[in-house]
């Protein structure tokens, strides 16, 4: 809880909701007849609407990218490190917009929303959504905001995948693109982790085939396990060693199955607190969207061909200890861009934090990101 809002924070913010009536045909073949998108905005849209930046969120985040919802909030939005007045994504210059993706659980239509056809929560009946569907919905969202062209589309992890998709589906509608800690597709190992997470959720007795809302239960244990597994993969071996080592909670081993090592305690805490803020069906959907993402698949498995129509310039950043979305995957993106002679800069930041590094204010990361954003500031100031 902040006693006072820090000066470089966007401060108190509220989410807004936008309703869409035009049916959205999804990649899976099904259609969403109407839906809501919940979103937050920071900063002011300028007169010619040229300073709007779209932030695409990752697997378990949402529209609350920066600031606080109330003075009672324990933590600010998920990208407070980068968004705010005077920060890398400077709200003194930009109009920053972050919608919650379809299928989410923070207000955008998703499995926990009421299905207008049945009057009950969608649950497992909510259609599978893909990155392409998200980008389509974000484009319609931009239309309603009267934003023809984004100054930039920016995202980390799964958010970075949406940035790539924007360049494939709507290349004329963004001028700059930042793809951080992302990948052009998941590896088999990555899909494997997602599948274990899904199995943990679906095997929870409280899951009830995804209709747990109607049973007034929550597949707590399954979702908790899924998050614990995920969390291990977002950190690096080194980061966990630095943070916990083999430190014991009680100072000595008790030869039992209770929490003994600090790392166990930490993971259980992460898992438990996640259950309180996230929906299991949404987790299933988001991991599926990750697994399915493979834009090169529609272009003879040639990523360069997929990105050939891109018009923006690019910044690609990876983190050395990120083994979930390793630097090699980012270099594949850079190679594809380079082969198209697109403007691209790339930096691999040497850190021990693992995949989560993209959320952390690391000096070299912010230096690179800030230098690139500096050109955007000049562009809107001139």
């Amino acid at each position: 809880m902040p006693d006072t809002i820090p000066e470089n924070s966007v401060g108190l913010v509220t989410s807004q909701t936008m309703h869409f009536d035009a049916p959205l045909a999804l990649v899976c073949g099904r259609t969403l007849d109407n839906y809501d998108l919940v979103y937050e905005t920071y900063g002011e849209l300028n007169a010619d609407k040229s300073n709007a930046i779209l932030i695409c969120h990752a697997l378990s985040s949402d529209q609350h990218a920066a600031g606080y919802h109330s003075m009672e909030d324990r933590k600010p939005g998920w990208w407070e490190s980068c968004i705010g007045p005077g920060k890398v994504i400077d709200t003194n210059h930009f109009f920053v917009v972050c919608p919650n993706n379809l299928g989410g659980c923070k207000g955008s239509s998703g499995p926990s929303s009421i299905n207008p056809e049945t009057g009950k929560p969608y649950g497992p009946d909510f259609p599978i959504v893909t990155v392409k569907d998200w980008v389509e919905s974000q484009a319609r969202f931009a239309d309603k905001l009267n934003i023809d062209t984004w100054l930039a589309v920016i995202g980390g992890s799964l958010g970075g995948m949406q940035v790539l998709q924007w360049n494939i589906d709507f290349p004329g509608r963004l001028k700059h693109a930042a793809v951080i800690a992302a990948a052009p597709k998941l590896t088999a190992q990555n899909i494997g982790f997602n599948e274990v997470a899904r199995q943990a959720i679906m095997h929870d007795v409280d899951f009830h085939e995804g209709r747990y809302y109607e049973h007034n239960t929550v597949p707590r244990r399954g979702l908790m396990l899924a998050r614990m597994l995920g969390h291990i993969t977002y950190l690096s071996d080194d980061a966990m060693r630095e943070k916990f080592g083999r430190e014991l909670r009680q100072g000595q081993i008790s030869y039992g199955f209770d929490v003994e090592f600090q790392v166990e305690s930490y993971l259980r805490y992460q898992g438990e607190s996640f259950v309180d803020r996230f929906d299991a069906n949404t987790y299933l959907l988001m991991t599926k969207a990750l697994d399915y993402f493979d834009p090169a698949g529609d272009f003879d498995d040639d990523l360069a061909k997929a990105l050939s129509k891109a018009k923006s310039d690019f910044l690609v950043i990876s983190f050395s200890s990120d083994w979930r979305f390793a630097p090699e995957r980012s270099r594949e993106i850079v190679k594809a861009l380079r082969e198209n002679q697109h403007d691209v800069s790339y930096a691999e930041i040497e850190v021990s934090h693992g995949h989560d590094a993209f959320l952390i204010p690391i000096k070299e990361y912010l230096d690179v990101f800030g230098a690139w954003m500096g050109h955007l500031v000049k562009e809107v100031s001139s």
Partner: protein
């Protein structure tokens, strides 16, 4: 990778003159992006720089130069054959682990290569070694032998021998001093009087 970061770079103007307009350039060890920035303005090229130092990448981005984080010692395997018109490497050849392999890789990736390096055969180096009996330290080679990045220094003669051994054709050669001036003497005795060597090369 750059050995003489803070000095005027005598080689860059010459390179700029050698490069055809509107070509594709890869600059190995691009430093703060000075050359690419110059080439963009003066030659309207499409260029990328490879650079290992994040602080230099930041400078490149600031000057609007495309910088890609890379370690030249890892080679250019991520680059397709003849992906560029020119692959340029200024003052970095002597700092890589295997200059011979990188040279061949340069000419695989580029139609032509442009290489510059400090000439170890310059009279100042020769005098220091001959009369001083110690490893030369010159304005072009300011570091001590133990902390220098320049682990593979060579003379013009050495470089030309390497080219001959690898079927590399020398298209153009210039030697200059630190003020990027050439002189009659330098043209007559390049290996003795030239401080910085600049070569344009191609696979035979």
């Amino acid at each position: 990778m750059n050995s003489i970061n803070n000095q005027v770079r005598p080689d860059l103007q010459t390179i700029c003159e050698w490069i055809q307009p509107k070509t594709r350039i890869l600059d190995l060890g691009c430093g703060d992006g000075t050359l690419l920035s110059m080439l963009k303005t003066e030659r309207d090229v499409n260029g990328y720089g490879l650079e290992i130092e994040i602080s230099n990448i930041v400078k490149c981005i600031n000057s609007g130069v495309n910088a890609i984080h890379a370690d030249l010692n890892a080679g250019l395997s991520e680059f397709d054959d003849k992906a560029f018109d020119y692959v340029v490497m200024t003052q970095a050849l002597q700092a890589v682990e295997r200059p011979d392999r990188l040279l061949n890789d340069m000419l695989r990736v580029g139609r032509e290569g442009i290489v510059t390096f400090p000439n170890f055969g310059h009279w100042r180096s020769r005098l220091q070694l001959f009369f001083g009996g110690h490893m030369p330290m010159t304005p072009s080679l300011p570091s001590k032998w133990f902390n220098t990045q320049n682990i593979h220094l060579c003379t013009l003669q050495d470089f030309e021998q390497l080219c001959a051994d690898n079927n590399i054709k020398i298209l153009q050669r210039t030697v200059v001093d630190r003020d990027h001036k050439s002189s009659f003497g330098m043209r007559l005795f390049p290996n003795l009087l030239g401080e910085v060597a600049i070569y344009r090369i191609q696979n035979s």
